[in-house]
């Protein structure tokens, strides 16, 4: 019979794999995990927290710029999405990054409708990822609290 720890570890493994397979995360997230150790046990959680704060700030900037109907500063939107694309790339937020690429294209062609639609999707996507990673970190905590080790998951 499976111990609680084994069950949790299996859940953690399955959930992690699903996040990669569904395209939420890519191998850069794996790279971040390599940087986590006993000295910095919460490194990944802290970096993604900063990333999500970045998302909120940049999306808000872009929304504001797009709100100036008739006088949209596409350069500002472009530079914000460039930043967001960069940080999403650095943390392995694959879907967010992909949407940033699309948003950048809309921006470059000054496609207002496209920008608005895309920005909404970016907003939804980062919030979805945030919730999923929170679930993942909760699982980690449960494993540790149960006295187990967080398994290494090979994708």
């Amino acid at each position: 019979m499976d111990t609680l720890i084994a069950q949790l570890q299996r859940q953690f493994r399955d959930y992690t794999i699903s996040l990669y397979h569904q395209g939420f995360l890519d191998d850069q997230f794996t790279e971040l995990k390599k940087l986590q150790d006993e000295c910095s046990p919460d490194f990944v959680a802290e970096v993604v927290t900063l990333f999500f704060e970045d998302c909120e700030k940049l999306i808000s900037n872009m929304a504001r710029a797009l709100d100036q109907t008739g006088n949209v500063d596409f350069k500002l939107v472009g530079s914000s999405v460039h930043q967001l694309k960069g940080s999403s790339s650095s943390v392995g937020a694959k879907r967010v990054k992909g949407l940033c690429i699309t948003l950048k294209e809309c921006c470059d062609t000054q496609n207002y409708e496209g920008c608005v639609r895309c920005l909404q999707q970016v907003d939804i996507e980062y919030k979805t990822l945030k919730a999923k990673l929170q679930d993942l970190f909760n699982l980690e905590q449960q494993i540790v609290q149960a006295g187990g080790r967080i398994p290494q998951v090979d994708i």
Binding site: E31, S40, K75
Partner: protein, 225 residues
């Protein structure tokens, strides 16, 4: 890190218990490699700083080219006041930054007497041949495609070690002078795909797919630079 109040590395509020650095740092261990990292993105600064620390480097991370120059004492054309204490073994900088690009920073460093021998590595999210060439021509040691991985930093680290090693040919060589770069080899690595090459150069280009595309950077790095 310099104690100069004008240099803003990661502000304390940004560190939020990440544990990546003391503001008041102990005196530099002369054997430890000290890297100056420059990136306007907070997320990227934290990642690069961790990557460097995990490879046993001491890191100062700043958020702009101007701050970097300030830290190096190059901001007003006078020699770094605390040059004896200030030892920078490597400068790693993002290319696309508002205000001063990594390329412009590279030029200023190479023009300085105090720091022109310090290897400068450029990081960029965009794999643009013209950009890479321009940086290498200006004296950049290497060009890393973002997102930067541990393998990339380990590779940099390996040519920065201050030890003098005896090579197979029996010659002693000071490894702070990096070995000459081998010629570019060809495999594809375009736009948003990751480059996972193990070759000595961090980027490779597919000759067939090579296009001279305009430098598409939204900050001040225009076509002309």
């Amino acid at each position: 890190m310099a104690k100069d109040g004008g240099v803003s590395c990661l502000r304390r509020s940004e560190m939020i218990g990440i544990g990546i650095g003391e503001l008041e740092s102990p005196p530099l261990d002369s054997d430890q490699v000290h890297v100056l990292a420059v990136d306007d993105s907070l997320v990227d600064r934290i990642v690069i700083e961790r990557l460097l620390r995990i490879t046993s480097c001491k890191v100062t991370a700043v958020d702009s080219g101007w701050r970097a120059l300030e830290f190096l004492g190059l901001d007003d054309d006078k020699a770094a006041v605390e040059f004896d204490r200030l030892k920078v073994d490597l400068i790693i900088t993002d290319y696309c930054m508002p205000g001063m690009t990594g390329y412009e920073l590279l030029k200023k460093i190479k023009e300085s007497t105090s720091f022109k021998e310090v290897p400068v590595v450029i990081m960029s999210s965009e794999n643009v041949m013209t950009r890479i060439d321009r940086c290498l021509e200006e004296g950049a040691e290497d060009f890393l495609l973002k997102p930067v991985k541990l393998a990339d930093v380990k590779r940099l680290r390996s040519y920065l070690t201050r030890d003098v090693k005896v090579f197979a040919d029996g010659n002693k060589r000071n490894l702070t002078t990096p070995p000459p770069l081998p010629p570019l080899s060809a495999t594809s690595s375009m736009e948003s795909s990751k480059s996972t090459v193990e070759s000595p150069l961090s980027m490779v280009v597919d000759d067939d797919a090579l296009t001279m595309s305009p430098d598409v950077c939204n900050f001040s790095c225009g076509f002309a630079d």
